[in-house]
Amino acid sequence: MLDQTKQLPMGVGVGYKSKHFSNISEGEHPVKWLEIHAENYMGEKGAAGGRPMAQLRALSDRFPISVHGVGLSIGGEGRLDPDHLARLKHLIDEISPASFSEHLAWSTHDTGPHSGYFNDLLPLPYTAKTLARVCDHIDEVQSTLGRQMLLENPASYLAFAESTYGEVEFLRAVVKRTGCGLLLDVNNVFVSANNLRIDAYDYIDAFPHEAVGEIHLGGHDEDQDEDGAPLLIDSHGREVADPVWHLYTYALATAGPKPTLIEWDTDVPEWEVLASEAARAALRLEQVLV
């Protein structure tokens, strides 16, 4: 059986950035838990050390931690990198986080002239074949780590002609086959819905909320597509947009309260700005808690 006992507290977390270490450690704020990117705390030879690990250990004594992977390449064609999985297990064993999550995406390609890690969450078609592969990979992660993982819905910019499943249908099937949980990124839903011309509220209605262990909120940028229509980019570099707050409120009303994270990864602001985004989320969360 997978360990499903650990979970995030019902409150608001933020993506941890080292520049906020003393604000988080010392001040009064609405943040109840922290999320880290797993790959920032890994060593190539031996374990990672130094200030980043020391700060993480200190924070994990005081806050529940969510370990969020960006490099496992769950949606990759090849097998999971056993070295990377071992590094992840080492980190999880050391930190004993409240949650581990990864993405429905791929980022590593390990054959041919262009092999490497490409540092982006790349898209996959939704077919019977990719479903089987994603499930195999999640089974391997969950059995290696001995715990349940959460899988995050991607931000999409394009579609695949070969897809035979809708995204929610695909995610439902993954949950059913692997017993994994889901991370519902509400900003990604909004971005994908705009870019793929689907209805974000229909997506939330159809989502298997009983499997959701965490919600993500973040900022996006606006560009233009081939026809001059808005193309939204999941940039995590600004405040959560107003329509995403509306969609979040709708998701909470539909699904009930969920631990919620504010993600801000580029042009990281002063702590006060991030804390005020967290307070906005906490206010909405409290309204469905009573």
């Binding site: 790959e39 490099g71 590593t108």
Partner: protein
């Protein structure tokens, strides 16, 4: 669509979009595919810029942009550990013709990467300095910390780095450089050329007293040992005399 085709097209700015990637109306997803192209290259370039601020300062923003664009396309990360990406950036600079007028540039890159490696290296427990007062210990093999890194340069590479970051005028010639990490912040200390032969010998198992004989005549041995001890660079002393 194979992921191989996706990556190949993503790394080649002029390549056509792989077939089967479409817009909501079924047309080829050209602008949309560019989002991935841009994300991959910009993200990797930012990772290199974060590791190599002195190299960036020495060549200027525009040159650095162009150089790192070539680098990240040809040398994507081998692992997803982005903080350690760019281990072979110095070798790339060595072979990058437009940078040949700055022959010291690759060594500045080597120094910057060594500092980064030391910053992230595994924590270990240094041998307390008091234990070194026993002369017997100089006849024993020592174990060096993963935070200790050394390199040799034909240029005053530590001063060039400081010049790049702080504007101090560089002077002097070749240097051997020791990177140590007292606490959490690595420091680079310059020593006379030939000094790293001592560290190579220690790493290969020679006792401290014998390795010290390999030192260049102008090396201040007590300063050298002080740098190692203050930097927590010796993490174990093995039992038993060691005969070289």
């Amino acid at each position: 669509m194979r992921q191989q085709d996706f990556i190949q097209a993503a790394l080649a700015p002029e390549a056509p979009v792989p077939t089967g990637l479409i817009t909501p109306s079924g047309a080829p997803a050209t602008r949309r595919f560019d989002v991935y192209r841009n994300n991959i290259i910009v993200g990797l370039k930012e990772a290199i810029a974060a590791s190599y601020p002195a190299v960036k300062s020495l060549v200027g923003d525009a040159f650095f942009e162009a150089m790192t664009g070539d680098y990240v396309r040809a040398h994507p990360p081998k692992t997803p550990i982005l903080p350690l990406y760019g281990a072979d950036f110095a070798e790339f600079i060595d072979g990058f013709a437009p940078a040949s007028r700055l022959p010291y540039l690759a060594d500045v890159a080597r120094l910057e990467y060594a500092l980064r490696q030391s910053y992230h290296a595994e924590d270990t427990c240094p041998v307390p300095a008091a234990e070194f007062s026993d002369p017997l210990l100089f006849t024993r093999q020592v174990v060096l910390a993963p935070t200790l890194i050394w390199l040799a340069s034909a240029y005053p590479v530590t001063k060039l780095r400081r010049f790049a970051l702080d504007g101090d005028r560089p002077s002097g010639g070749a240097e051997d450089v020791l990177i140590t990490r007292p606490g959490y912040d690595p420091i680079a200390t310059a020593f006379p050329p030939g000094t790293i032969a001592v560290l190579d010998a220690l790493r290969d198992g020679m006792a401290l007293a014998n390795a010290a004989e390999l030192a260049p005549s102008d090396l201040d041995l007590s300063q050298f040992l002080g740098t190692l001890l203050k930097g927590g660079a010796i993490i174990d002393i093995l039992e038993g005399d060691h005969d070289d």
